[in-house]
Structures are given as structure tokens and as C-alpha cells.
């Protein structure tokens, strides 16, 4: 709904401004009477799990010299996790981060991670708002996916 401005589900060739991708639509489609809060549950799970991952990565980034293999493994997990809810921007940062890992570019990793956390926080905020609004609007409205 347009009232939920500020975040988009963008598929494929979007401008890149979207926070979420097709996967989120998939999640919404999976929501049904058996699981009326499916999307929110999944998103909650994601943020719970990713908090732990972010913590792990922060710790790994504090250790010098950087263990790029370890960082890459963590970020691989994070990327997989981000893909579950279609967190597009976060996922892009993950990809960038892993690229820096491959290059052995510690600076790039740290910088990217800051950006990643920023995107992550933004998405979290937006999704929280979204679910809040959705709850207010009621089930019928929820089924209507905002563009």
C-alpha cells in the first residue's frame, strides 16, 4: 500500500532502491489461514538469527589479523539468511563484503560491514513499521501487498 511509503518490493530490473525483492512476495504468498502471521514470524526469526550473526562478524572483525576465511563463512551465512526474506540491499552488501574477503581487503570489509549494518537497521525499522501498520489495517489489508 502506498501508505507504507519508503520501502519497495522490487523485482528484477528495479532501480536498486528496493529494500526487498521477490522473495518477500513469495513469503506473502505463503501466508494463509494455517499461518496467518507467517511473514511476520519469518521476519522475526530472521532478525533474531541475524543479530547473532552480526555479533559474530563484529567479533571476527576485531581480531587482527583478519581471518578472511572465517569472515567469508559468516558472511555466507548472513547472505543466505538475508535471502530468506528477500532483504535485497543487505544481501548486496553481503556480496560486496565477501568480495573484499576474497581480495583480502580488510578495509573494504569493515567499510562494507558498516554499510551493511546501516541497511540492516533501516530494513528492520521499515519492516517493523510495516507489520505494525498491517496489524492495524487488519488481515484484509495485509493481503494487499504494498508497492
Amino acid at each position: 500500500m502506498s501508505k507504507l511509503d519508503g520501502w519497495f518490493v522490487q523485482s528484477g530490473s528495479g532501480s536498486g532502491s528496493g529494500y526487498l525483492d521477490d522473495q518477500f512476495i513469495q513469503l506473502e504468498e505463503l501466508q494463509d489461514d494455517a499461518n496467518p502471521n507467517f511473514v511476520e514470524e519469518v521476519v522475526t526469526l530472521f532478525f533474531g538469527d541475524s543479530t547473532r550473526l552480526i555479533f559474530n562478524i563484529e567479533q571476527a572483525l576485531d581480531k587482527k589479523p583478519l581471518d578472511f576465511n572465517k569472515l567469508d563463512t559468516f558472511m555466507h551465512q548472513f547472505k543466505g539468511s538475508s535471502s530468506s526474506i528477500g532483504a535485497k540491499k543487505v544481501k548486496n552488501e553481503c556480496t560486496q563484503f565477501r568480495e573484499y574477503c576474497r581480495q583480502g581487503n580488510g578495509e573494504g570489509c569493515i567499510r562494507t560491514f558498516q554499510q551493511l549494518k546501516k541497511e540492516y537497521a533501516t530494513l528492520r525499522k521499515k519492516l517493523e513499521n510495516y507489520f505494525q501498520l498491517a496489524r492495524q489495517a487488519g488481515p484484509t489489508e495485509t493481503a494487499c501487498r504494498p508497492k
Partner: protein
């Protein structure tokens, strides 16, 4: 679980299929686990989720036959997804789908090499999951076709194979010179055991827990991979209730598994071949049809996991006809090319025989991870096999040095002729086997026969005792060796498994057509074989290096004791053979070695 097994409500044959497909999902990511569960339920599948690979393994062991398919993430903290794949492949015979957010070719390839039937990229889509039943269905089709008895046939196949394999190893370890006697006794045993084994297989199946498998791997490592045999492993493992057969079976799977991990162009891929040969060795002549079909089963078992069983089916069918062939005698075996064509279907002319062969090999090789490379490798051995058709006469007369320039690759093998003659001389079953071998060698010029006769007598003598035990492929090799005297023997022996497979398949499939073609085959083939020979020369030349590699690798796998007195290197071996050519007495040992090497 039993109920579901009995009802087979996940079986493709029930009307509701694929609804009710029992899926085990393993992912350490709770979010994905939840999503996948939901998606799979939407597909009307019965879903069990697991966030730890170890739990998943326990679950799989606990609920045997409780699942139809496993979907597993690649990266998991407690156990690598590939490791899980390995275990599932070794212990259960379930299709496994790997998934990862990482679509790197090397990763996907690794998954496939480890035996994954599919590799899904995250985010996984509903439409992909909806379609996973195909893997279960495919597997079931192959199982049903492989053996008519549907339930537990996989076990039987594997067990059967392992028994033979096992025995092969036993032979390896044993005294070579006494091969004949030993084989005869083994044949008897084998006869007795053959069917009882089949019936008792299911019960005897062992659960290879992580610990048990670890013990196994430790034992293998301790012994050294090239020396392992079930008995040795069993002794080292020191697990009272475990039988040698259990270990043998597991060892076989383990080797298959390892061979899959080999890089495509790694000579180790010949592993499968070793096993195949072994099977043949101990088979009694009487059960010829049976034997030949068994290797086939093996193939199918192996290919099942990879999803290639079409060839096997054909072969198997052919196998049933073998008895007939035996009865009819030598003549029926003569037309070689026809069978091949039949197998491959599209190659009518003898000359194309090579081509068809290649395709055969190719199919066999496909189980290996990297299709393109593997197929290439596979073809090499095949060609060599065919190269045997090259007329011996020239080569024989040439000095040894001459052979070398060409590479031992030039393999003049009058094996056909020899075989034929041998057949006529020895009406016994063993002879028939020999004949079958010949078959696959293209019908070559009959003129050669007279020339070869002298050699033949030697070879026959040696061959018949051992050969009858051996399956067609091996028998062939043995026969060939004495004849070759030249470079041939080594090459033949080293030929990787693929050739064998191809070979067996040919033999089996050919039986029928052979009979029909006997007369026409002889005449027409002569012509074709000439051309082929030329082709072979070229091919051989190009492939020499590969062959050598294979050989060496192969040797490594063998028990060192066996080869203690035999130089590992090709060249050396060639000489060896040459030296003994003249002495009929010495040939026997050579042949034996050939067997083992083969």
C-alpha cells in the same frame, strides 16, 4: 513409518503421488527452515525439519525408510553439507538435494560430485520444490527396472557386488600361483552363497553410524588405501558384530564415493572398474548369465545415484539371454559389432563401432562428476580395447623397440582369433566365456588364425582354468595377454573400469544379435575391421599418455604384494611380458597378474 513404507504412499505408483512425499529438510538457518517447511507443505509433502546435520543423520538412521528425499543446506556449522551427503549416500540410498545461496560453479560441482541429485540456489522457489518428486520417482523407476523385486533391491545389488568385490580382494592378497585351485573352490562357495546371500541381505544391513564409519575410515587410513581389504579393515575395526560382508559392502560404497570425488580427469576414476572386474573373477562358468548381469546391476546401482541407468536396463535384459548364447556355442559369439550397435542404436556400420563404444563409455562415465572430461577419459580406454583388433602379426614380428616408438599403444591383438579357436578346442563353459570376449573384439581377419595358433595353445591352456571363472571381460584380457606378448598386455590390464563396463554391456547385449548375425557378421566384419584398425592406430597414439596414467594409478590401488615381483611401470611390464612370451610355463603367472591388474 512402517505404515507409510508398506502403503508406499510416497511411492510413485500410488495415485496421490507426489503428495505425501516424505521430505527431510536440513538447514542451520532457522528462517529458511521455516520457509522451506511451509513451502513443502504447500506442495502437499510431508515435511520434517532439522537444524543440525547430526540430528538429521540420527533421524535418518532411526527412521529407516522414513524419508523419500533429503534437502540439505551446504554450509552448516556442525557438519558440512557435503559430509552429510556422504553419509546419506553411504548409509541410505536417498536422493539428496543440496541448496546454497552460493551458485559458484565449483560449489555446485562439488555437490554433484558428492552425489547430490540437485543443487538449488537460495532463495529457493516453490516451483522448484514442487518438482523435487521427480528425483524420487526417477530413482524408483531405476530400482524397479533394475530388479524386478522392488523392495530392497538396492541392498541386494550392493551386497552382491561387494561380495564379489570382496573376493576379488581376497584373491589379490593371496598367492597368485595357486589361482586355479583357489578359484575353483571359491566358485563352489559362491554358488552356494549366491542366492542365500540375496535373501538374507536385507536383514543383514548394517547401520553405519558416524562412529562406526569413522572407525572404518581410520582403519582404511591405517592400512593404506591401496592395501585395504575388508578383512583387514574388519580386524582393525574390532567390532564384534560386524561381518566381513558388511565391511566389504561399505568399502565398496566408500570407494564409489571417493571415486566420485576424484577430479574428472583423475585416473582414480578407474576405481569402479576394479570392482567390476573383481566380480567377474570368481563367477562360476555355470552362472554365466548371472554373472554378467551382476556387473550390470552394479553399474545400475552406481548410476542410480547419478541418475543414469538407461544403459543398465538394456544390458540387464541382454544378460538373461546369455545362457542361450552359451548353449549355442562359439558361433553365436562371432558377430561383435552388431551388439554394440544394438546397444547404442544409431551406429549401424562396423566402422562406427568405435563411435558407439565411445558413447557407451560415455554413459558409463557420466556418473562421474564432470561429464565432459570424464567422458573423454572413458573413451580412451575403450579405444584401446578396440585397438586390440589391430592385426597382431605385424607387431609380433617387429622387435620390441619398434613398439615403443608407437607407444605400446599399438596393440595388435589377435585375440578374436585366438578365442575362436580356443572355443572350438574347449567345448567347456570356460571356453564360451572366452568366446564372448572374442565377440567384443571385432570380428577380425580369420586369416590370422593360423598364425596365432601356436600362441593360442598356450593362452588357452592358461586361460581356461582361470578364464572360466572370470567374467567375459577379464577372460578376454587374460587371453589377450599371452597373445600380445608385446605391449598389449599392460594396456589391456590397465584399462579403467569404464572399458569393462562397456565391455560387459556389449557382451550381454550382443548375445541375441550375435546369433542372428553369425554368418553375415563374419564376412562383413572383416572388411570393416581393417579400417577400424587404422583408426585405432591414430587414436592409440594420441591417448598413450592417458593410458599410462591410468595404469599407474590403478596399480596404486592394488595390493602392493601382488605386484611385488611385477614392475609397476608400463614399459617394464611390457618387457616382462615379452620375455615370457616364448615360455609357456611362465605365462601363467603373467596371466594372473593380468587378472588382478585388470
Amino acid at each position: 513409518m512402517d505404515r507409510s513404507l508398506e502403503n508406499g504412499f510416497a511411492s510413485p505408483r500410488t495415485e496421490s503421488f507426489p503428495a505425501g512425499l516424505r521430505v527431510l529438510v536440513v538447514d542451520d538457518d532457522p528462517t529458511w527452515l521455516k520457509i522451506l517447511e511451509k513451502m513443502l507443505k504447500r506442495c502437499s509433502y510431508e515435511v520434517t525439519t532439522c537444524c543440525l546435520a547430526r540430528d538429521a543423520l540420527d533421524l535418518l538412521r532411526e527412521r529407516k525408510d522414513g524419508f523419500d528425499i533429503v534437502i540439505s543446506d551446504v554450509n552448516m556449522p556442525d557438519m558440512d553439507g557435503f559430509k552429510l551427503l556422504e553419509h546419506v549416500g553411504l548409509e541410505m540410498d536417498l536422493p539428496v538435494i543440496m541448496m546454497s545461496v552460493d551458485g559458484e560453479t565449483s560449489r555446485v560441482m562439488k555437490g554433484v560430485q558428492h552425489g547430490a541429485c540437485d543443487y538449488l540456489l537460495k532463495p529457493v522457489r516453490m516451483k522448484e520444490l514442487k518438482n523435487i518428486w521427480q528425483h524420487v520417482f526417477r530413482k524408483k523407476i531405476h530400482e524397479v527396472k533394475d530388479i524386478e523385486s522392488y523392495e530392497g533391491n538396492e541392498d541386494i545389488l550392493l551386497r552382491n557386488g561387494s561380495d564379489r568385490f570382496d573376493d576379488g580382494h581376497f584373491l589379490f592378497g593371496g598367492d597368485l600361483s595357486s589361482g586355479k585351485k583357489r578359484k575353483e573352490t571359491e566358485n563352489k562357495e559362491h554358488d552356494d552363497q549366491e542366492y542365500s546371500d540375496l535373501s538374507s541381505v536385507k536383514k543383514a544391513r548394517v547401520v553405519w553410524s558416524v562412529d562406526l564409519h569413522q572407525k572404518f575410515v581410520n582403519a582404511v587410513n591405517q592400512i593404506g588405501f591401496d592395501k585395504v581389504g575388508p578383512k583387514k579393515i574388519l580386524d582393525l575395526m574390532n567390532v564384534p558384530w560386524l561381518t566381513r560382508e558388511n565391511v566389504a559392502s561399505h568399502l565398496q560404497k566408500y570407494r564409489l564415493y571417493l571415486s566420485r570425488l576424484q577430479k574428472p580427469n583423475d585416473p582414480k576414476t578407474s576405481f569402479c572398474g576394479i570392482k567390476q572386474q573383481d566380480f567377474g573373477q570368481k563367477d562360476p562358468p555355470a552362472s554365466f548369465a548371472h554373472q554378467s548381469s551382476i556387473p550390470v546391476h552394479q553399474n545400475s546401482a552406481a548410476s542410480c545415484s547419478f541418475g543414469y541407468s538407461s544403459n543398465n536396463l538394456l544390458v540387464q535384459d541382454a544378460g538373461s539371454e546369455i545362457h542361450e548364447g552359451d548353449l549355442k556355442g562359439i558361433i553365436s559369439f562371432l558377430p561383435v559389432k552388431e551388439p554394440r550397435n544394438a546397444l547404442n542404436g544409431d551406429l549401424p556400420s562396423p566402422q562406427k563401432g568405435n563411435g558407439s563404444q565411445i558413447s557407451l563409455t560415455h554413459s558409463f562415465g557420466s556418473p562421474e562428476p564432470d561429464v565432459s572430461n570424464i567422458s573423454f577419459e572413458a573413451t580412451i580406454p575403450q579405444k584401446h580395447a578396440w585397438s586390440r583388433e589391430v592385426p597382431i602379426m605385424q607387431l609380433k614380428q617387429q622387435p620390441k623397440q619398434e613398439h615403443k616408438p608407437y607407444g605400446y599403444t599399438l596393440l595388435p591383438l589377435p585375440s578374436q582369433q585366438h578365442n575362436i579357436q580356443a572355443e572350438s578346442l574347449h567345448p567347456g563353459p570356460s571356453i564360451n566365456l572366452g568366446t564372448s570376449i572374442t565377440e567384443r573384439d571385432k570380428t577380425s581377419p580369420f586369416e590370422i588364425k593360423p598364425l596365432c595358433t601356436e600362441y593360442r595353445s598356450n593362452s588357452i591352456k592358461n586361460v581356461s582354468p582361470t578364464a572360466h571363472i572370470i567374467d567375459p571381460l577379464q577372460a578376454e584380457k587374460k587371453i589377450v595377454i599371452p597373445q600380445d606378448f608385446g605391449a598389449m598386455s599392460t594396456i589391456n590390464t590397465e584399462l579403467p573400469s569404464m572399458k569393462h563396463h562397456g565391455f560387459t554391456q556389449h557382451c550381454t547385449s550382443t548375445w541375441e544379435s550375435d546369433q542372428r548375425n553369425l554368418i553375415p557378421g563374419i564376412g562383413s566384419t572383416l572388411f570393416a575391421s581393417q579400417e577400424e584398425l587404422q583408426l585405432n592406430f591414430l587414436q592409440d597414439y594420441a591417448f598413450v599418455e592417458d593410458v599410462e596414467l591410468n595404469n599407474i594409478e590403478f596399480l596404486n590401488y592394488q595390493d602392493p604384494e601382488l605386484f611385488a615381483d611385477v614392475p609397476t611401470h608400463l614399459y617394464d611390464r611390457l618387457k616382462f611380458n615379452n620375455d615370457y612370451l616364448c615360455e609357456s610355463t611362465l605365462e601363467y603367472p603373467i596371466m594372473d597378474q593380468g587378472l588382478f591388474i585388470a
